[in-house]
């Protein structure tokens, strides 16, 4: 398939892997942010093609995994209301919250529907004028502009039976938290190509300089991932800490200005709770005052869902910050599996633990 096969070429992969081996002289810890990259790194078995000095650390870039249990509890409560059609991206349905998952709510009779685009939820609201359609807005800067577009369109059309349960999160504040942590374990960052396709990479330049950490904007195919790693290792070996773009076929420095305009029109940044990490300031997207009538949390006021965290020995927080690897967790593959996940990174196929469980279980 054009534009895909050439980036999965075994010969090119071997060449890049050789170049990385030739470059590296010391141990380096590299973190990819995006769950899609984690998924593909393991799906293609890329860690085994790298020299032993390179360890890959899987950051908090699975939006499904980091959505706070309290918010999933709210989603389930809203979905259970008889007047509600609850629309969500597919992979959010299986994630457990304090009241179970949306899939379990569906099994109990809730009208939960999978949509591929937030605009599909707007169409649902048009088709079912007597029902309340609630869209669960999950994802990073990648999916947020489309959610913004849906709210903007609903406002323009005066669509009174549509609302948004907003769970969108932003990458740079999470990176700031990881790189500024006293327990920081990361030497270099592979930035998510699709996030940068929307937002550009200007905001990463300050991060790289402040934390003296190289950041390489990286794509998703095996060749893209290895090229990102090669550039990152070269910077680290040469003592540089710059932002480089290895995904120029999709990413420009300024990003997609139209999408950013839509994002800023509808949303404003505020604090958000990340599952397994905690609250990070300015890391969440919230509806601006003008669009608050579309806020599902206002439309369906709910008591806070009881949720008292206790320690089961789950290392999710440390895994999401790159301090530990999934296999170092005592629950990995034992008490915690994709069928019955305990920690955030096991819940979605893009979470680091789930990806290890699914693709890299040979020595377990």
């Amino acid at each position: 398939m054009k534009f895909v096969d050439e980036y999965r070429d075994a010969h090119g992969v071997a060449e890049l892997s050789g170049e990385i081996r030739a470059l590296v002289t010391r141990p380096w810890k590299l973190m990819e942010i995006c769950g899609g990259q984690t998924h593909n790194l393991l799906r293609y078995g890329i860690p085994e093609l790298l020299p032993p000095e390179i360890s890959l650390i899987h950051g908090p870039g699975c939006p499904v995994c980091v959505t706070a249990p309290e918010l999933i509890g709210k989603a389930v409560e809203i979905a259970r209301r008889p007047e509600v059609i609850f629309a969500s991206f597919g992979d959010m349905l299986r994630v457990p919250g304090p009241l179970g998952s949306l899939l379990a709510a569906k099994a109990e009779g809730a009208d939960v529907r999978i949509v591929y685009s937030p605009l599909d939820a707007v169409n649902l609201a048009h088709r079912h004028p007597r029902r309340e359609v609630v869209f669960f807005g999950v994802g990073f800067e990648t999916t947020a502009p489309a959610t913004a577009m849906a709210v903007w369109q609903a406002e323009r059309e005066g669509l009174a039976n549509f609302s948004l349960l907003a769970a969108h999160v932003l990458v740079p504040p999470a990176l700031e938290a990881i790189l500024g942590s006293p327990r920081r374990a990361v030497d270099g960052i592979l930035a998510a190509g699709h996030v940068c396709a929307v937002m550009g990479f200007g905001e990463y330049e300050g991060l790289a300089a402040r934390h003296r950490t190289p950041i390489v904007v990286t794509g998703f195919e095996p060749i893209d991932l290895l090229e990102g790693i090669r550039l990152l290792v070269a910077q680290l070996e040469q003592g540089r800490a710059e932002v480089e773009n290895s995904y120029s076929r999709a990413v420009h420095r300024d990003g997609n200005l139209e999408a950013q305009r839509m994002l800023h029109e509808v949303f404003t940044a505020g604090p958000r709770e990340w599952r397994g990490i905690g609250s990070i300031s300015d890391s969440g997207l919230h509806l601006r005052a003008r669009y608050q009538e579309f806020d599902a949390e206002r439309r369906f006021p709910l008591p806070a869902v009881a949720h008292a965290p206790t320690d089961l020995g789950c290392l999710a927080g440390e895994i999401l910050q790159g301090i530990r690897k999934p296999r170092e967790c005592p629950l990995f593959g034992q008490g915690c599996t994709p069928d019955a996940p305990i920690g955030a990174p096991m819940v979605s196929s893009e979470g680091a633990c789930a990806a290890y469980f699914r693709y890299d279980r040979r020595s377990v």
Partner: protein
């Protein structure tokens, strides 16, 4: 344990049936182990093959049943009637049995248009004729409007086993080659495209077809068949995992050798689906000794339903696991799915 007390709370085991219990993956396997096997335990069921092979005086019979609940009822390349006949005929064929007789049970929803029912029944007639079976008994029930998805069909089938040796996961041997009868995933994408209202430039048509002609040709050519499995819900990955578990042997397949139509690949790339888990209704995998491979491929390629047959891997070691050699040459586990395959966010 109180589930509110977990750090990332997860219900340990669902206490209600979920869709994924019928998805053919890990939850389906758990359901069978937990509920059905203990209740119905007997040697024929324990084999857990597509159909039961039963010894009766003078004949070895294969007996199978399947229920069909597809939505929408009609999709590009077929309808629920094609599926109901082909699915059961194919389960018999996978036992090495010539399909002879089918039953057909209809659960109709009040309000179903007669023209839909008549199209479905006409498809069943045509598919039965193509497969060489007679629909010899049946039943009809009608449920209230809103209590059925238009129409559900159950078929059961009986065939005579003509394969000279037992065809089952237990007959699989180390060194066997694995082949598939054609490109994979068309049925899954065809149904998804109409169910979700997706439109593709090149519409994907279901592969639904009776597989007995291909199996009959293999047997006629004297190919020593160890195991056959049609690649229905859960697709190739699920079928191979079931066979690896049942045989206790490891299977390694080459990702680059597994055939997919370009339109299926493109749809999977767009939707974040793995084509190895997509359903097929007219494709099967065969396990046979390497010395018979060329003859098997030539035989299959001469049949319309299996003209795209290719070898995709082999059986090696006693790991009871499926490994995939990726397109870039690395090796990874090819696991069962946990639940339904859901389109990914990013």
């Amino acid at each position: 344990m109180n589930e509110f007390a977990l750090q990332c709370p997860a219900p340990a085991a669902p206490d209600r049936v979920q869709l994924a219990h019928g998805g053919g993956g890990r939850l389906t396997a758990q359901l069978i182990e937990r509920v059905f096997l203990p209740a119905f335990a007997n040697p024929a069921l324990r084999v857990l093959h597509d159909g039961a092979v039963l010894e009766t005086p003078g004949a070895r019979l294969a007996f199978t049943t399947d229920s069909f609940v597809v939505s929408p009822l009609e999709f590009p390349g077929g309808n629920i009637g094609h599926l109901a006949v082909c699915g059961t005929v194919n389960d018999l064929a996978m036992c090495g049995a010539r399909p002879l007789w089918l039953s057909a049970g209809f659960i109709l929803e009040e309000g179903l248009p007669f023209d839909v029912l008549e199209r479905v029944v006409a498809s069943m007639r045509d598919a039965a004729r193509e497969a060489g079976v007679a629909i010899v008994t049946g039943d009809t029930k009608v449920v209230d409007h809103g209590k059925g998805d238009g129409m559900f069909i159950n078929t059961a089938g009986i065939g005579t086993v003509v394969a000279p040796t037992a065809i089952s996961p237990r007959a699989v041997q180390e060194g066997d080659v694995v082949l598939v009868s054609g490109d994979l995933g068309c049925h899954g994408i065809a149904v998804l495209s109409v169910r979700e209202g997706l439109e593709f430039e090149a519409p994907v048509e279901s592969d639904v077809a009776p597989l007995w002609p291909a199996v009959e040709a293999l047997l006629g050519a004297g190919v020593e068949i160890h195991c056959l499995r049609d690649l229905t819900r859960g697709g190739l990955a699920t079928a191979l995992n079931e066979i690896a578990t049942a045989s206790g042997l490891g299977i390694t397949i080459e990702e680059s050798a597994v055939p997919h139509a370009p339109s299926v690949r493109a749809a999977c790339e767009l939707l974040g689906l793995d084509p190895l888990y997509l359903a097929n209704e007219g494709r099967f995998a065969a396990f046979l000794p390497e010395c018979d491979l060329e003859r098997a491929l030539a035989t299959l390629r001469a049949c319309a339903v299996s003209q795209g047959a290719v070898a995709i891997g082999r059986v090696s070691g006693a790991s009871a696991r499926v490994d995939l050699r990726t397109v870039i040459g690395s090796l990874r586990v090819l696991d069962l799915l946990s639940g339904e395959q859901l389109p990914r966010i990013c």
